[in-house]
């Protein structure tokens, strides 16, 4: 153990002056080719390069995935979270920039990519996305300008492909744990048998 962890530290000076929070990023991962990108979590980073690096290091290592995208939290615009499933609207059009649409199936669930719409601004994008993707099964829509979404890799090859990650999955231990419990219980049964055998017969 390092000395710093063994030694008690006294602080005489005041805390350093506050540091501003870095930008908040929302991260989505894709588990297999053709599947949507689903919300994975958040991270804090000052710029795109570090955000992608942190996303890869953290969420890429969390679970096997073939792609990670992220966007600055402030670049996302969420529509209302409906108490009832959203019904299609009537706003249509194909002018403006490309916006990526994320849908939320139920409150408390995770947003996932659904497709794209074109629109001149976020509010119009939300309306057009509602027309295109609200099918009576989703509760909310998020739109993010597509050029504000950043991707770690687009070749659909696994991130950390050489990494055996079974050691960090519950199922990676199941077989071993089951075998060890079986041995314990077998031994206990045998011990009981041996004691009873001795006391009753010898």
């Amino acid at each position: 153990m390092s000395k710093i962890r063994e030694t008690f530290i006294n602080f005489d000076a005041d805390l350093p002056s506050p540091t501003p929070d870095h930008r908040q990023w929302v991260v989505y991962t894709c588990k297999r080719a053709g599947a949507p990108y689903k919300w994975a979590g958040y991270l804090e980073a000052p710029d795109t390069e570090l955000a992608l690096q942190y996303a890869r290091e953290h969420y890429g290592l969390d679970e096997a995935c073939i792609g990670i995208i992220c966007h600055d939290h402030t670049d996302g615009t969420d529509g209302p979270y409906g108490l009832e499933p959203l019904l299609p609207g009537e706003a249509h059009g194909d002018d403006g920039d490309c916006w990526t649409v994320f849908t939320l199936v139920h409150r408390g669930g995770n947003h996932q990519t659904a497709g794209n719409v074109k629109a001149p601004d976020a509010d119009t994008a939300l309306q057009r996305a509602t027309s295109a993707f609200a099918d009576g099964k989703i509760r909310s829509i998020r739109v993010v300008k597509s050029d504000r979404i950043y991707m770690t890799n687009d070749d659909e090859s696994p991130i950390w492909p050489t990494h055996d990650m079974t050691y960090k999955l519950a199922k990676g231990y199941s077989k071993n744990v089951r075998a060890k419990w079986a041995r314990f219980r077998d031994e206990r049964t045998y011990e009981q048998y041996r004691k009873e055998d001795i006391s009753k017969h010898f």
Binding site: H22, Y81, R188
Partner: protein, 340 residues
């Protein structure tokens, strides 16, 4: 080490919200509708939810400290990999929970400063020492096991961002628990010395696990805001009973003895005697047990536990040592970093 959210929540608050809006809010919660960030919520709900998420986030990053100390001393490469991954998970959980808290209105820097100056708390169980590898096994088996039980109920709460974060976290907690169970099974299949070490660690961590869920709730807890607003959905005592029902028979199967212990001020056991209360009540299906020392619980929560000062000091050191990095990556002017 996992940090489930178990702050002692205030229950005697005055609610100053618009009665009509409050009634609608409470009716939604009663109907099982989850609250999302854009929804109207009483200020008191926001404040309590922030307190709960911040406490949980603090627990995750403080909880990484005792286990982090053991990465370099793990007994095999596999255990080292698993422990490194687990510590990374815990810090990642902190990352997500701080984000949930930020959305409720407090900056991350304010939260980190409040943590290192003692204005906010973290889970009590992280104020105890982990002197042996068996303590790490016990933490993963008992504390992470308790955390899963608690957090599964929290994932059934009412605040959407916290619920989705809990679901994500619980997936990883399952690995922590299973890894811990494997470690305990390995140690209890080992030499006499390893079994003794494991029993000693179990003696240290069993009472802490019982305290994990917090003290008994008030009799009318269901009518008070934390439960009425589904910030928590199960009574502390009920969770504790479920924990004992799951872990007491498992410990006995493994050959561990469940003892009542006394401890010194450093958290080390000074005496043990068998807990005669441990037995299965066939009529209820519940295991009876001796309550932990609640005086100790309050002593530790007030800052007088074996490791409170050390944990906060280490966290403060990280905060101070990391300040120049935070400034540098934000393109701010930086001074020479302070010496460790």
């Amino acid at each position: 080490m996992s940090g489930a959210a178990n702050p002692v929540m205030p229950s005697d608050i005055t609610i100053n919200a618009d009665p009509e809006k409050l009634a609608e809010f409470e009716s939604r919660i009663a109907d099982g509708v989850l609250i999302e960030p854009g929804d109207w919520m009483p200020d008191e709900y926001r404040a309590m939810m922030l307190r709960m998420a911040e406490h949980h986030a603090n627990s995750e990053i403080i909880g990484a400290l005792p286990e982090g100390e053991w990465i370099t001393r793990a007994p095999s490469m596999l255990r080292k990999l698993a422990l490194t991954a687990k510590v990374q998970d815990e810090v990642g959980h902190g990352q997500m929970l701080y984000r949930v808290s930020q959305e409720l209105g407090k900056s991350r820097d304010d939260m980190l400063r409040d943590l290192v100056t003692g204005k906010t708390k973290y889970h009590n169980c992280f104020n105890y020492p982990c002197p042996t590898w068996a303590d790490i096994a016990m933490v993963q088996w008992l504390i992470d096991g308790a955390a899963i039980m608690n957090q599964k109920t929290l994932a059934d709460g009412a605040y959407g961002p916290y619920v989705r974060t809990m679901n994500r976290i619980n997936m990883e907690e399952a690995f922590h628990f299973k890894s811990g169970e494997d470690m305990v099974l390995t140690l209890m299949s080992g030499t006499k010395g390893q079994k003794t070490m494991t029993q000693q660690a179990f003696d240290r961590w069993w009472p802490i696990s019982l305290m994990f869920f917090g003290p008994e709730d008030k009799p009318n807890a269901e009518e008070l805001p934390p439960m009425k607003w589904r910030m928590k959905v199960e009574r502390n005592d009920s969770l504790r009973q479920r924990f004992v029902n799951r872990f007491a028979p498992a410990a006995i199967d493994l050959g561990l003895k469940i003892n009542i212990v006394t401890k010194d001020e450093k958290g080390f056991v000074t005496s043990t005697k068998p807990d005669e209360a441990i037995k299965l009540d066939d009529s209820t299906g519940n295991w009876s047990f001796t309550e932990p020392d609640w005086d100790e619980f309050w002593r530790v929560i007030r800052g007088n536990g074996p490791c409170n000062a050390h944990r906060v000091a280490l966290r403060r050191l990280s905060y101070e040592q990391g300040a120049w990095v935070r400034r540098a990556i934000a393109n701010e002017e930086v001074a020479v970093p302070p010496a460790a």
